[in-house]
Symmetry: C2
Subunit: 558 residues, 2 copies
């Protein structure tokens, strides 16, 4: 008994140390901290993308499935993380990592993040966040104003109003889109007469009460997959996400959109929401938002704009005209960890009408009581970290001018890179950049000449070979680890909508230079000469020669 | 034109600096970093909860709604944050902050968090996370094993299997519960014959096809509000969350649960899911999970356990018996930012059957393609930060033994505090702690004597007065800022289910001592003597005296 007591006392002592701020500047923890900082600085300065190592090799370091019984020292775990985790991570900050929307961060985000972590506030409620709540409300207000341009009086009235919220903070664009469509769905089937509203009675009774056979969300074929996920989560079913055709520039065809709405109406399916995209994930195009807003109004549909990528284009005096009509949206998604350059894990949705979020309002007795300023009552998530602090810091430190430079530079760079590709004999530009995203593929001159005259069958053969080669180049380049472009599949109209595998490039890192882009192309050109792809290249050349010869018998004779 | 070019060049230079690691150890940014560290150490060592300042005062610092035009220096923003944000934050780490589930963090979480922020990985996909993905899979595996105790072979087979996931990482318990119920809903209405599944065709057609009038989720009255939110989001409607009565210890009444299931079945309402709670938010009680599992099996319902709070009780050899039956759950929610002591913003759900998550699987061409190891295909969220790294670090550095100490200490302390309250003449223990949560209220001896003999009308009068006083004490104590307990409303059986306002205490911070708890009670006792509440105290005493006198005429005469 005495032994048990003594050991309990020792344990309490140990825990006391673990939870206490170390006072000595030369404590072990301070040394660990310095080691980490040095190592991270080295990591961030590396210009490679990743070391070549198979994931199944890496998995061996993470194979144990039981929670260890005995504690280890912090220094031991820190060393493990530096050796096994950091060393095998992707250098998303590398200027040659241009394949995804995760980019470098402004360095100041690192020291400022410490404040967020150390304070460990919970934004669900002011009792656990205090000043963070007004700050979050301000961030929502600033983005709201950027989008909707209401006057100062509007924000003085609504920004800090306890019973309203100009938007909702989320862990990312997916939850932001889901929140917007959740609001739209509940708003489309409100309480009326004996019906207490979809939020209360559910979708089944809502459709029965209002005499609909279903409810649809319309978006272009280039819509983000999170919208289909949202249609599933919300109980509408993935089929209810209706994909509308695009024009040759990957923007929604508004005639097709209107036709589809009419058709759904005839089938007694409620046109619940129309989603415009401001920066498609794969090609960076912006839908004709203004025209879409009119169609949404015509059909009484909620108009949502997914500006997860393109939202910050509004900072650019030169390019913001592309976003015309966004101010007519009922809701707009922004992703802060994309072009607001904030660390991973934060997005938001703003609502034009401050009363709109009430469609999803929730309260609880021990928390977020009615009338409190708490922002947790209209967020999908409960406990949330104070990421708004980092958005606030970005908006203050970079300011509109800084974000404008980032946006303008990215678009300029994408245009230069597009030119570089167009002038290159072995590559073909597939989508011209409207923002800072473009796609292209391996396609040597000979193949291009052949494609220009090929019949559908010949074109299919050529494109199939080109697909294999482009895929090989992309995978091998990623494995080599010096640079990274991603790949996707598009159905270009010029190739009769045959699925073409393309390289996808996102130019959001201001450290990416024209030289780096030139090197990436050169490496790809070299990879096309590798042994492993030689047969496929040979097949491509054969198909191209046959196609050209059949088209031009004279060439065959020669 | 030359001018524009020159200024563009200057801007590029400026951005280059913003995104580059500062090399000089005495750079401005290094100084800012050191200032922040010093300030945060001071903040974390403070034992107060918050400075007394009205939120509307604080809002004045966050009143501007326009994004500023011109950049400011990092040092300026850092100073602003320290003065206006940090100084007005809640000391969630303070040992006298015992009102909510947000507690102190082990200090090592701070230096380790830097790794996560600096690397800025995106866990949606291995291309942007590499080693973080196996690490996340390991964390899911460890929690899965803690809950389900499968053998090593099971985890060797499934943990890193590309086409399966043992669980899903989430931003918190709310999304974890939502994910579990999303899986349950889709699983309850699968594809069959001509029907392509709820996930595809939606809830309306699913119910029609299967001939149901609705689908219900059953949980005790003490269920977390996120479950009702989930019922709304999923399109079932808030009514479909059926609240079942509890016994006197706030645990679900299993007879009432079974009756309710039978009743729903008769109404042709599908019993879609039964949720057990392992650690109710308000009172910290654990449902009889084993018996609930049997009922769920009987009705073919998904059995989910919300162990957001209580999950880590499994680390304690002394207390884990309370969780018996959790291993029969189809899914279990854990919140890492609660009793795994990880910074805000991470929870997870584990699934007993590794194939279960496929009910919500999503793919996209440019990302999370089929067959990849990416964990993004079965998470509700898209882009996600590498928080798993911090869970991993907690599990390694504290290990089972460390978490056991934390759990055991918290429960011990709650029991001591309960004793302290019971022996106090002015307070009444309302719920006895099963874990480390308890509730009590202001209720002096005289009122207690009166309540013991009061008729319903008298009891209502007494309780109404007690509610006002308890609420006043809680609010005033919070405003004074030395300590914080939260408050909620319970309907104790002993008071005929009259709504009683109670103090709610969560004892998760290992630095909270018996002395601190004694001080908190003393302060509350003092607050009951304040001028502002004197009238209410007088009313209470009058009601008590009248009640006692009416019950005992002799006392009246005396």
């Amino acid at each position: 008994m005495a032994g048990k007591k003594k050991s309990a006392h020792a344990s309490i002592e140990a825990m006391y140390r673990v939870f206490t701020v170390p006072e000595a500047p030369d404590s072990t923890l301070s040394r660990v901290d310095q080691d980490i900082s040095r190592n991270l600085a080295g990591f961030l300065q590396e210009h490679i993308v990743a070391v070549e190592r198979d994931l199944s090799e890496v998995e061996k370091n993470f194979a144990e499935s039981a929670v260890p019984e005995k504690p280890i020292f912090v220094s031991e775990q820190a060393q493990f993380l530096l050796d096994k985790l950091v060393a095998n991570s992707v250098h998303t900050a590398s200027p040659s990592f241009i394949g995804h929307m995760t980019s470098a961060l402004p360095y100041f985000m690192l020291p400022l993040s410490k404040i967020m972590i150390a304070l460990n506030q919970n934004l669900v409620k002011t009792e656990t966040s205090k000043a963070f709540t007004p700050m979050e409300r301000q961030v929502l207000g600033m983005i709201h104003r950027l989008v909707y341009q209401e006057d100062g009086a509007f924000y003085r009235k609504w920004m800090h109003d306890p019973s309203h919220a100009l938007g909702a903070m989320c862990s990312g664009g997916t939850v932001a889109n889901l929140t917007a469509l959740w609001v739209a769905r509940n708003h489309a089937f409100p309480a009326e007469g004996s019906f207490r509203g979809l939020h209360q009675e559910g979708l089944f009774r809502a459709l029965k009460y209002y005499g609909h056979e279903g409810a649809a969300i319309l978006v272009s074929r280039r819509g983000h997959y999170s919208l289909r996920k949202a249609a599933d989560v919300l109980g509408l079913g993935r089929d209810s996400l209706v994909a509308v055709d695009t024009d040759n520039d990957n923007r929604i065809d508004t005639d097709a959109l209107r036709d589809k709405c009419l058709q759904l109406q005839k089938q007694k399916i409620k046109v619940m929401a129309i989603c415009g995209i401001a920066g498609t994930t794969e090609t960076g195009n912006i839908d004709p938002l203004d025209a879409m807003a009119d169609i949404a109004r015509e059909f009484g549909a909620h108009f949502h704009v997914d500006a997860a990528w393109g939202g910050p284009t509004l900072f650019s005096r030169e390019h913001k005209h592309l976003m015309k009509g966004i101010e007519k949206a009922d809701s707009v998604t922004f992703d802060a960890h994309k072009q607001l350059y904030v660390p991973m894990g934060v997005g938001l949705v703003v609502f034009r009408d401050p009363a709109l979020a009430s469609a999803v309002e929730h309260h609880a007795q021990y928390i977020i009581r009615k009338g409190s300023r708490d922002l947790g009552s209209t967020t999908l998530e409960g406990s949330r970290p104070g990421m708004a602090m980092l958005i606030h810091s970005g908006l203050k430190i970079l300011a509109r001018e800084g974000y404008e430079i980032l946006i303008d530079q990215g678009i300029d760079k994408a245009q230069s890179f597009a030119e570089m590709i167009e002038n290159h004999p072995e590559f073909e530009l597939i989508t011209r950049p409207e923002l800072n995203i473009l796609t292209y593929r391996y396609c040597p001159d000979l193949a291009r000449q052949a494609l220009a005259v090929a019949n559908p069958l010949q074109a299919e053969r050529l494109n199939t070979a080109l697909n294999r080669i482009t895929k090989f180049i992309q995978k091998t380049q990623r494995e080599h680890g010096k640079a990274f472009v991603s790949r996707t599949r598009l159905e270009p109209a010029c190739y009769h909508h045959f699925p073409c595998i393309v390289f996808r490039v996102v130019l959001a890192n201001p450290l990416t230079t024209a030289d780096i882009l030139r090197d990436i192309l050169s490496e790809q050109q070299q990879l096309a000469k590798e042994e492993d792809i030689r047969d496929e290249i040979e097949i491509l050349h054969q198909h191209a020669r046959i196609t050209l010869a059949e088209h031009n018998p004279k060439a065959r004779q020669a």
